[in-house]
């Protein structure tokens, strides 16, 4: 075990343990999936027992939930908010429309592929995903974090130009301010 390169040190293990058990979720309902979030967070499903709780501003948050389709107008804000979040940060794509456009495949105002614009760690399928599947998504993310594999933010940093190019294709007249985290 000591010779295994991929094994985590004890510090990393503790870090990942705390990170996975304390996910501050940014209060940003980007789409209609936000309607299942109250249900997920309240008494029947109670995501807080997994350590998921709301955070009011991006500086405090770890987890960005893209709840459904993103219109181009929202995408701009999402990118801004995502870049303001501090590392380590995770993105969950929520609902079919983030995966492939869903039922809005021919709408001129919604993006079809979320992961071309910001890195996504976990997708949750469904329209809309039930609270159970949302919680399953959280659990999936947690297991990724515990394994140290939820590295979407690192990907974003590394391939910023690629993402910027994609973003500029839909964002017109929107200053992509200095890269900041």
């Amino acid at each position: 075990m000591y010779n295994d390169k991929n094994a985590q040190t004890i510090v990393e293990y503790i870090q990942n343990f705390t990170r996975k058990n304390s996910l501050f979720m940014l209060a940003y309902g980007t789409g209609c999936g936000a309607i299942e979030l109250p249900a997920t967070l309240t008494s029947r499903y109670d995501a807080e027992r997994l350590g998921v709780r709301g955070a009011a501003t991006p500086r405090q948050a770890d987890l960005l939930l893209i709840t459904g389709y993103l219109s181009t107008k929202t995408l701009k804000r999402v990118i801004r908010v995502y870049e303001q979040m501090q590392d380590p940060k995770y993105v969950i794509g929520f609902g079919s429309c983030t995966i492939n456009g869903g039922m809005y495949w021919d709408s001129y105002n919604t993006i079809k592929l979320l992961d071309k614009y910001i890195p996504v760690d976990v997708y949750i399928n469904g329209c809309m995903p039930r609270p159970e599947s949302v919680i399953a998504g959280f659990k999936e993310l947690q297991s990724l974090i515990a394994a140290g594999k939820a590295d979407g933010a690192a990907k974003y940093k590394e391939n910023l130009e690629w993402y910027r190019e994609n973003q500029k294709k839909v964002l017109k007249n929107w200053p992509l301010v200095e890269y900041n985290w």
């Binding site: 503790i14 870090q15 343990f17 705390t18 990170r19 058990n21 304390s22 501050f24 209060a27 309240t42 008494s43 109670d46 807080e48 027992r49 350590g51 709780r53 709301g54 955070a55 009011a56 501003t57 500086r59 405090q60 948050a61 770890d62 501090q86 590392d87 380590p88 900041n180 985290w181």
Partner: protein, 304 residues
């Protein structure tokens, strides 16, 4: 030399004690609220996880020196106040000879606002309007609750002719009566003021998420937020211990301390679960109505 070393070790132990107790109280609060809301709630140690995560989070930006120092001011205030509040009867805990002989209640009252002012400076430099609005709300509210709080303290001081906490604890030990019985109105006033001091609902107007998006802390993340959460836990312990010392005869061992402080802590927690939030001016006028009335009565009680 040895004594100083032991003192410092003891002080660190005291800080750890306060931190742990405060953190567990925060966790217990979340748990209790969850149970009231028909939920399971996070584990009691959830706040520890949160704080460690916040420290392990990267903080890659700051808006300047004052923002950097804001949380430091906050923790300075809470730790220093802790140093001056006797944890147990007859002084400190764990080799630590408490510093309460070198500071009295007036000092503590001032020390307790030190942190919020420092924090306010930090929040101010971020330039976020939410922060500034939160700060003005917080400071305004502070004027509200400090007055009844000081009234109750002054009532006790004039009644027992001492301004030091140890002095008050000794008086209670000698007479065998807790001060919450020897001057009940002062206790009522102080408890009402304490509701405001804890910034829980209905007095959570500083951080009110739906109004100012967590207010002063809206630009603080990572290590800053972690330091502030730690400071908040220590400060909660300080406040509770102070109230227990002054009104409930202190504690002779840790278990007694925990029982008493937890009982006291339940007052703002349970009041908070069932109350909506005040507007700022309503909160101030609230403090300047009944608490002030009880404060005047307690002063009269003390005088005659």
């Amino acid at each position: 030399m040895n004594t100083i070393l032991f003192e410092i070790l003891g002080a660190i132990a005291t800080i750890l004690l306060a931190f742990t107790v405060g953190m567990f109280y925060g966790g217990a609060r979340r748990k209790i609220i969850a149970r009231i809301q028909n939920r399971v709630g996070p584990p009691v140690y959830q706040n520890f996880i949160d704080v460690i995560k916040l420290y392990s989070k990267e903080t890659s930006i700051h808006h300047g020196a004052m923002q950097h120092m804001g949380p430091v001011f906050a923790i300075t205030a809470s730790v220093t106040s802790l140093m001056f509040v006797p944890v147990l009867n007859g002084g400190g805990w764990f080799w630590f000879d408490n510093l309460s002989f070198s500071g009295d209640l007036i000092f503590l009252v001032y020390m307790m606002v030190f942190g919020s002012l420092g924090m306010a400076l930090g929040a101010g430099q971020t330039g976020n309007p939410n922060s500034a609005i939160g700060v003005t709300r917080g400071l305004s509210q502070m004027v509200g609750y400090e007055i009844p709080f000081v009234m109750s303290m002054v009532a006790l001081m004039t009644q027992f002719h001492t301004t030091s906490i140890t002095g008050m604890m000794e008086i209670q030990a000698q007479s065998g009566t807790w001060m919450m019985f020897s001057n009940p109105f002062a206790f009522i006033t102080a408890v009402l003021a304490m509701l405001g001091m804890f910034h829980y609902s209905p007095f959570d107007i500083v951080h009110a998420p739906a109004e100012v998006a967590s207010g002063p802390v809206s630009e603080f993340g990572g290590k800053y937020l972690g330091l502030m959460m730690s400071s908040g836990s220590i400060f909660a312990f300080v406040k509770l211990t102070l109230f227990v010392n002054v009104f409930m005869g202190g504690a002779s061992n840790l278990i007694e301390l925990v029982v008493k402080t937890f009982a006291l802590y339940m007052i703002p927690v349970l009041y908070g679960v069932t109350s909506p939030r005040y507007r700022t001016e309503q909160a101030i006028t609230y403090f300047w109505k009944w608490p002030l009335f009880f404060g005047v009565i307690s002063l009269l009680w003390a005088a005659f």
